[in-house]
Symmetry: C2
Subunit: 211 residues, 2 copies
């Protein structure tokens, strides 16, 4: 089932889960799909489809149990187990992402960071030991890391991505402002911040009719 | 025409343009659509469609003039004029984004930054003066800023977004890990970093068949 689920569904489930956690802290025990939908800014039908996609059988008549639903999504996303992440590039963006993940994504463990700057390697930055990039082929398989975050300048992104994939990485979150060429069995999520800013600036500069 | 162009086309044009600039520096004068496509990891047909969408008439038989094409895309994106950006939230991510935009997105001007932490306000951080959030209703219209980047914790994101929109902002790039409810005439680009990481971790944890 997992392999057929659309990436955007996984992203929405991640959001639902964080919303459910916030409700749990507030002591909410049951929620209807339309309440979840309203907080997530999607339609109730979308919420029900997404929950059906993970085979979750709630009882919408009385509303979903927040506790059980949060737990089901967590197990589906695999975040009931530790998920190791490698971060490549400890420049401004890389360091900020490391700090961000530590504070906002506690279910991920930044197992190793890599940089080619000797002033950064051998040090712990944002709670994460920084290794030279030459150590990638050794550390990635030894730690069983399958997920990497790239925060590199465009020049070195493809080479580093190739090195990571050769070392066993199966998914890359790419913040380098260049597209990457990867094997079909490696999941790639591009986050070109400049392109996003161009997009927003472009559409904020002119009148628009609705979204 | 502008109002009908799809956001993803704008993002690709932004990428083409950065690729063309790199070629210009290398002294390349002409390129075929398949060469642009190959660097951008899209199909040649996609490149031709995107360039037609901006009404650019090249001469694909001899290849596009890199200089003229770069110039046309720039004019279309509006980056031949200064585009003012406001950055709200000068925590780790906000500071990194400011530094990133200064170094990687020189065609944007970080006109003003805002934070509610008195230890940050009144100082210049990453080349950008940081004002208290109370100054948003005054500075945004005075500077004619229409584009804002949100790098805030989830709790304060919606309130800040409302304040920005009331002040005249028409486009928001949102890095806060919560959805935002905005008027239909405001362009919103959500960049939920945690959801992206969940997505990549999810699909890197299992065998997949192709992309």
């Amino acid at each position: 089932m997992k392999s057929e689920i659309p990436p955007n569904t996984v992203a929405r489930l991640s959001l639902y889960r964080r919303l459910l956690e916030a409700w749990l802290e507030k002591g909410t025990t049951h929620l209807y799909s339309h309440e979840i939908a309203s907080m997530a800014c999607v339609t109730p039908a979308q919420v029900r489809r997404d929950l059906m996609a993970i085979g979750y059988s709630g009882s919408p008549s009385r509303g979903y149990s927040v506790d059980a639903l949060e737990d089901s999504i967590g197990r589906f996303l695999g975040s009931d187990t530790v998920r190791k992440i490698a971060l490549v590039g400890m420049g401004n963006l890389g360091r900020a992402l490391a700090t961000y993940f530590v504070s906002r994504a506690p279910r991920f463990r930044m197992t190793a960071a890599f940089d080619n700057d000797p002033r950064k390697t051998g040090r712990v930055i944002a709670g994460c030991m920084v290794h030279p990039v030459e150590a990638i082929p050794g550390i990635i398989p030894a730690e069983g890391i399958r997920t990497a975050v790239l925060a590199l300048p465009p020049e070195s992104a493809q080479e580093m991505a190739d090195t990571l994939v050769k070392a066993g990485v199966k998914g890359i979150l790419n913040f380098a402002p260049v597209p990457l060429r990867l094997p079909g069995d490696v999941f790639l999520e591009n986050r070109d911040v400049t392109a996003s800013l161009e997009k927003v600036a472009f559409f904020s500069g002119q009148p628009r009719e609705g979204n």
